[in-house]
Amino acid sequence: MLILGIITVSLSSCSEDFLNTTPNQILTEDQVFSDPNMISSVLANFYGRVNWGQNITDHGSYTSLDEASQSNSGANTEYGFGDGQWRVYDYELIRNINQFLASVRATTAMDKPLQLQAEGEARFLRAWTYFNMCKGLGGMPIVGDVVFEYKAGMDVTTLQVARSTEAEMYDYIIKECTEIAAFMTTTKPENAARATKWTALMLKARAAIYAASIAKYNTLNTPQIITEGGEVGIPASRADGYYAIALAAAKVVIDSSGYKLQDVTDPTKKAQSFYNACCVKDNNSEVIWAKDYAYPGETHGFSTNNTPVSVAEDIDRSRVTPVLNLVEAFEYINERDGKLKLLDGNGDYIVYNFAEDVFANKDPRMWATVIYPGQKFKGKVIELQAGRKSLVAGKWIAEIKQPGSIDPVTRATITSENGPTADNAEFMNKTGFFFRKFLDETPQSATRGRGSDMWFPRFRFSEAVLIAAEASLELQDEPNGRKYLNMVRKRAGIQELPTITFNDIVQENRVEFAFENHRYWDLKRWRIADKVWNGDKEADNSALKVLFPYVVNMPGDANDGKWIFDKQNDRKGVRERNFQLKNYYNFLNQSWIDNNPKLVKNPYQ
């Protein structure tokens, strides 16, 4: 009894100790900010949290525009754009960065330059966060360096911050970038993965050109899209000022950053060179900031999910594939209209000896952007053949079999292993093309076990050039605008232009930055998204199109074994791209407004 009592008492006195267990991975602020490695670790966390919009870790995001379509199983029936399309509203990140800033400014664990660089990177990422927020939502509350705290029972109205105007938001981003550019490093970081003076200037240029074009084109094209307090919409009077800022920032990058357009003189190597400029990290002189990946550690499944069927390395393949609309957007080297020549004047098929012949003389960047029928990937020809056709009594009859079927007698392909097919099969091409840009040729990069370490560029040097072109043109300096635009066209390997217009800027951005998260935002800031994606069920600008190659199967006929092509709408059930006026700005969640009555709604909400 006594023993039992002693045991009980002694145990109960240390009950609390008994319950105080130690967590494995929770560190104190002191532990973190006394060690430069841990400070880097916090920055790494922030870098990992800023991947928004269209990007290669979300291949489905490519099906939202007019660049690609869902090839896996049934058709994507989405056609409009959601009220929260690519919306960014991450004040938790803003708060975390502000927490970090307060601590890193106080740390004694680093030398001053390193400390400033860390501060600069954090402020760059904060500006980038505001920028991504602003391009979807317009002006939102700017909280500065404040780290909000909460105690039960406190007056919460002291925490309420009203929305800034859209102009104030861009001004804030521009101001932050200007300040940090003054002290951030000019050294090129490994694989463009960290922010430098040049990324700050690129963000400044991009923010300014966005602000400028909204100021100009919102007034011109969609004057109704404003709010009373200016949370949405920028006065036209400010356009020129912003264009000038954009031009100036872009020029600094062009002239003094040391980055340059990657180019070769041999026209047959232009295509590969452009691919390298976008997709190859080594000796890259063009990518200023990218989301980098590394194996082992951090890889993604873009290659795994979208690799051509015939060179698949694992179960997954061909989930999303590019559409004909993008392919036709690329000009011919010497011809502005990039439409493929499929039918003659009578509406009869134009017959090609080889599948790739229909793509002859197209912009070399097209080769670097998509894999089209007959091209090689990983050293293997990627066949794309929907079936065979024969002309019987004046009517073309198609013969379609399971993918991978060959003629038992002639051993010629009937339907290639890659398709395309028009059914609802999984893992089968439905559009006639595959991605090339961002698709990794590294062995095993298309497996689930390894994945790809292909990077995703966020700022390329050519953007600085195209911003300079656009800003110059808008500032009535067509000759300089033309000079900059032709730099990009010359590098691409297509004809230079004698004069340029606004539409040339639109066109060049589309093909130069395909799959790089530009097009949606560009069409929005120019206020032409509702006109391009106007909901027409047939037109090339809004309805997704696919290309089905067939081989003529008419033994003895002159055309036997040659290629003809059907341009057709993407599968039944896919609806047209339809961008409405309300899509120019995301909606605010009702709950945000409930929580902060100072927030006003966006137009059409």
Partner: protein
């Protein structure tokens, strides 16, 4: 075969026949009163009679001598015990009444008319259940129990062909809701007590996880008690979902060593699985779809169809994937145990081995080896010590299947491979072909040789030591110390593999696909739990006042370090990991848990008539903020045995009642498993290894600031009320238990959202204990047992109805009445499934033209006869989200109602027992392969494709339509209005299964004695032999909505039990 409690008539030999007949025709009370009267008379005469020696032998009804049975002369202090031959002698008067009793057997009163007596005691399986373990190593007699505790004994448990323990409880006990969602080898049935959530498991006094419960050999279990109400409060902060208390078998005192061998061999096959459509059916439907959709470039033609129908021409021979993949598989069990003891020490030692192969051909399966050793010893009269040890090795083995779930691939293969595809190129078994766009589903490749091997092994050992010392009469000090260790090692290697195609002209095989994803992974985990439990127990009687009291303290700590590594081996032949190919190492930490509790319990009864129990536990959990760690969990229960009252005994109807008890309980239980809260959320700081990014050319692990500390949160509180009634009639021949219960839980967490914190502050309000839910229901058990000549029989029924409500929500608010109707969860059934209500199918084009409701959102332009019509609930002539209503119950979990019917018969050496079990009040949603036409280019069930609206001429879109159960199948049509969520596809399941059946033959003693055995039993047993369900072709218990899940198995066993 069970034998039940009416031996008092049975032992009177021929009288029993008369009794049964009499009872059937006259009712019970008349005869019973006669019997009682005659006993009173004999007692009165004892002292006046002359005494003489009476000798006798006491045998069991299995004809075995009973050693140590007590014989007592009624009304005197004289008593004795039987010797090792079951013999006794005692001095007794003529016509004195001898009271004969032995544990595990029904007591008998014998009138000593002669001086030599042959007494046969009847074994009483129910008697064993009469002593109930009510948790914490405490026991109570059923009569004086005040809580809602159901119990099941070893005999009923072992009547099962399940591979895991939970499966044995199905349908046998009131208060259990069950569902076996997946039947793969080694899988267990999910059980919940009154649908309250996953219960706490306690084995031999030690808190254990569900895996340990399921994988001890259930033949080693003596009894299982289910604490359904406030009686669970003694487990404090983890008791809110009820407690399952398991006791393993102990050796019997004063018995010679008995060796028991138990062996079964069984055949498993599929209970139900939807068969895929055959080639002609598939192609017919496909051509019809092309015809209706006007496909310009058709994939199949009528010529193709004819060839596939004939099935003889090369290249047109269909293939049956179902047969190729599914088969019959063995399940075997061998167990040996030795049981014995003298008057000081008892022991029970058992070893067993279970082997359950997969019904998927050559696909490995589940094996488990168990040992159990229980020893108890009385060191002195006051000191008892004991030790329990059990251990097991359980192993799951199957081919190293690419992709995710290893059982999914072959099951999916049945549907994803079209019946036109054949598994081998040119039918040459050396060359698996590419049979589908999904390169992972050719079953010809899913085997050890081609795709590697996965071995998942658990090695588990539990050691318990206990001691008990009697300080003085009635007061004992007890200690229990438990150490549990479980080690998991999972090694999975998935090979690279090749698929081939064949070129006939050149007679060569070439690669159609080469997988280059060699995958090698290893998961390692150690679970270590240390439990200590000390208590003081007092048990005494003061006149009519019975008192029991316990004070105790319990501590448990658990650590679970675990890690996972992955590599890309250079070759399939390499079986070891090496550093150079390693690319991931996840160290998931130690995950320490600590809990401590102080317990007090007191029972009081007055003359076993008025019963009261008070208990409380003061419990602390490491999870919560230091200021919110400790909780007090009190409970009270009380009972009234009306049959013990004089007024009742004197009443005219009292003879019909053997026992009648009213009881009620109320208590506060806790649950520290709180949604939206993790241990240490009360701490601020930074989380290491959270996010990260590739910077400076290499991946850098991230560190993330933690969100606002949660300082004002604690466990969930459950207030549990139970009102119950225990009755037994007619000398216990008819027994019943009825309970009403409700559990109100408060403290479900939510943020206090009326504090309008601007979202721009960048953190969420910490959660607090704000919301509540409720469960209400009834459970009941009733059983009739009797004899009909030499036929003993018993028929029982039990049912549990339990339904969850979401109860008070923190300040609910709604913008309008529809929003409230659709989204409120305040005081409403939980887990409602919403969808459209179908209103039949359009029978012809005229009906579609006449329909003034926009059904499909496209002005009805996409509709055809056979398509589904929806009810326009709000009358706005359009079908949209506003027309949704409640169409189903909860999906994927245990049903609201479970029931079971138990039958047992014994006739001489033969016995038969079976259980019908079933459920109702759960929903299954027909989806994917069983719903979408030609889903993702794959197949649909034959029964589906056979029964659609179809064209009389599949090549003529305008031909006459033939009605069917389902809409016409059109390729790529899965977003059509037909396939919207509606009650057309939602099935509210009702089912009943012949869950267990056992037919046994006990070889007569005189035969087996010659070979030295004491008993031999041969039996046939089966599980899931029949299923009655409103779901056609799909197992009603599976939860996967495509129907493609490893269903519960149908097992037929041959078995024997042999004793030496």
């Amino acid at each position: 075969m069970e034998k039940h409690a009416f031996q008092c008539f049975w032992s009177r030999g021929k009288l029993s026949l008369y009794v049964i007949a009499f009872s059937l025709f006259s009712g019970w009370n008349v005869f019973s009163s006669v019997a009682t009267a005659s006993e009173k008379a004999t007692t009165a005469t004892e002292e006046t009679q002359q005494k003489r020696m009476v000798q006798g032998v006491i045998m069991s009804d299995q004809n075995e001598a009973i050693i140590g049975a007590t014989v007592h002369v009624k009304g005197t202090t004289r008593g004795t015990m039987t010797d090792e031959n079951g013999k006794f002698s005692i001095e007794a008067a003529m016509d004195a009444v001898l009271e004969v009793s032995y544990i595990g057997f029904l007591p008998q009163n014998i009138v000593a008319k002669t001086t030599t007596l042959n007494i046969t005691l009847k074994e009483d399986s129910k008697q064993l259940g009469e002593i109930l373990v009510t948790g914490f190593g405490l026991t109570q007699r059923k009569e004086t129990l005040t809580g809602a505790v159901s119990s099941i004994s070893s005999k009923e448990i072992s009547r099962s062909s399940s591979s895991t323990t939970s499966g044995t409880l199905v349908g046998k006990i009131a208060g259990i809701n069950s569902r076996q969602a997946d039947g793969r080898p080694g899988a267990s049935t999910s059980i919940q007590i009154r649908n309250m959530g996953t219960p706490l498991f306690v084995i031999d006094g030690i808190i254990q996880d569900e895996g340990q419960f399921n994988n001890i050999d259930f033949n080693d279990i003596e009894s299982i008690s289910i604490l359904k109400d406030a009686s669970a409060a003694i487990y404090g902060v983890r008791s809110a979902n009820g407690v399952v208390v398991v006791n393993t078998k102990k050796g019997d005192r004063n018995t010679k060593p008995t060796v028991t061998l138990n062996a079964t061999y069984g055949w498993q096959n599929l209970s139900t699985f939807p068969k895929p459509a055959d080639a002609p059916t598939y192609i017919e439907n496909y051509i019809q779809s092309q015809t209706i959709q006007g496909t310009k470039n058709p994939k199949y033609t009528v010529d193709d169809l004819a060839k596939w129908k004939a099935g003889t021409e090369k290249g047109y021979v269909p293939f049956d994937w179902y047969k190729f993949i599914w088969g019959t598989a063995p399940q075997t069990y061998v167990g040996v145990n030795i049981n014995g003891g003298d008057d000081k020490t008892t022991y029970y030692v058992a070893v067993s081995h279970l082997n359950q192969d997969a019904m998927i051909k050559q696909y490995g399966g589940f094996t488990r080896s168990n040992i159990q050793m229980n020893i108890d010893s009385k060191i002195t009269d006051k000191l008892k010590v004991g030790a329990t040890m059990n251990g097991r090795i359980e192993e799951r083995v199957n081919p190293g299947v690419p992709g995710q779930d290893d059982y999914w691939c072959p099951i999916f293969a049945v549907y994803r491979n079209l019946p036109m595809a054949r598994p081998y190129a040119n039918d040459n078994p050396k060359y698996p072909a590419k049979t589908s766009n999904n390169t992972d589903v050719n079953f010809a490749m899913l085997n050890y040789d081609l795709s590697g091997k996965m071995v998942d092994t658990w090695r588990v050992a539990q050691f318990n030591f206990n001691a008990e010392y009697e300080l003085f009469k009635g007061l004992k000090a007890k200690g229990l110390f438990g150490y549990y260790m479980a080690n998991r090692l999972m090694n999975n290697q998935e090979f690279t593999y090749d698929l081939f195609k064949y070129d006939e002209a050149s007679d060569t095989y070439s690669y159609a696909f080469r997988n280059t994803n060699p995958w090698k992974e290893r998961a390692q985990s150690l679970v270590e739990t240390i439990t200590s439990n000390v208590q003081l127990a007092y048990d005494n009687k003061f006149g009519k006042h019975g008192v029991q009291a316990v004070l105790a303290m319990e501590t448990t700590t658990t650590e679970n370090p675990n890690s996972w590594i992955h590599s890309i081996p250079a070759s399939n032949a390499l079986t070891l990991f090496d550093y150079t190919t390693l690319d991931t190492y996840n160290d998931n930490g130690v995950n320490t848990q600590a809990r401590i509790g102080y317990i007090g319990r007191m029972n009081y009864n007055y003359d076993q008539k008025y019963l009261l129990e008070l208990s409380a536990r003061y419990d602390g959990s490491w999870k919560f903020p230091p200021t919110h760690r400790w909780g007090l969990f009190p409970s009270i229960s009380a009972g009234w045995r009306i049959t013990e009252e004089e007024f009742w005994k004197n009443s005219s109807f009292s003879n019909a009642f053997s026992d009648l008890k009213l009881r009620g309980s109320y208590g506060l239980l806790g649950d520290d498993n709180v949604d939206g809260y993790s241990a240490f959320d009360f701490m601020s700081g930074y989380n290491y290894n959270n996010g990260g990014s590739t910077i400076d050319g290499a991946y850098t692990i991230g560190t993330r600031p933690r969100s606002l500390p949660v300082t004002n949160l604690s466990w969930i509180k459950a207030k549990v009320l139970d009102l119950g009634l225990d009755v037994s009639f007619f000398q216990n021949r008819l027994t019943g238990t009825f309970d009403y219960f409700q559990r109100m839980r408060t403290g479900l967490t939510a943020p206090r959202y009326d504090v309008l914190l601007p979202s721009e502050v960048g953190f969420d309000l910490p959660r607090e204990n704000l919301n509540s839910d409720a469960s209400k229901g009834v459970d009941a058990m009733i059983r009739w047992s009797d004899n009909l000549g030499e036929l003993h029989y018993s028929i029982g029924a039990n049912a549990t109805y339990a339904r969850r409500y979401d109860w008070h929500q923190y300040k609910p608010r709604f913008s309008n009445s529809w929003n409230k109707y659709r989204n409120s969860i305040n005081e409403r059934y939980s887990y409602i499934t919403w969808g459209y209500e179908s209103d039949g199918q359009f029978q012809n084009w005229e009906e579609i033209a006449d329909c003034d409701i926009d059904i499909d959102g496209k002005g009805n332009t996409s509709l055809r006869p056979g398509d589904i019509r929806y009810k326009d609930i709000n009358g706005d002539k359009r079908i949209n989200g506003l027309d949704e209503s409640a169409i189903g119950y909860r999906q994927g979990s245990t049903p609201n109602l479970n029931f079971g019917f138990n039958f047992a018969f014994q006739y001489k050496t033969w016995d038969l027992a079976f259980d019908l079990t079933g459920g109702s009040g759960a929903s299954w949603y027909q989806n994917w392969e069983t719903r979408f036409p030609f889903h993702d280019g794959g197949n649909n069930p034959q029964s589906y494709m056979d029964d659609t609206w179809r064209l009389s001429d599949i090549t003529d879109a305008n031909s006459e339509l033939i009605p069917g159960k389902y809409p016409t199948l059109l390729v790529g049509n899965s977003s059509h209005s037909n396939y919207w969520t509606s009650d057309f596809w939602m099935h509210n399941i009702n089912y009943m299964k012949l869950r267990n059946l056992e037919l046994g033959y006990n070889v007569p003693k005189n035969i087996i004695k010659k070979v030295g055995m004491t008993s031999l039993r041969l039996y046939f047993s089966g599980q899931n032999l029949l299923t009655f369900s409103n779901l056609q072709g799909t197992d009603p218990e599976i939860t996967s909505d495509n129907g493609l899940q490893y269903p519960t198995t149908r097992i037929m066993n041959l078995g024997l039990i042999l004793k030496y």
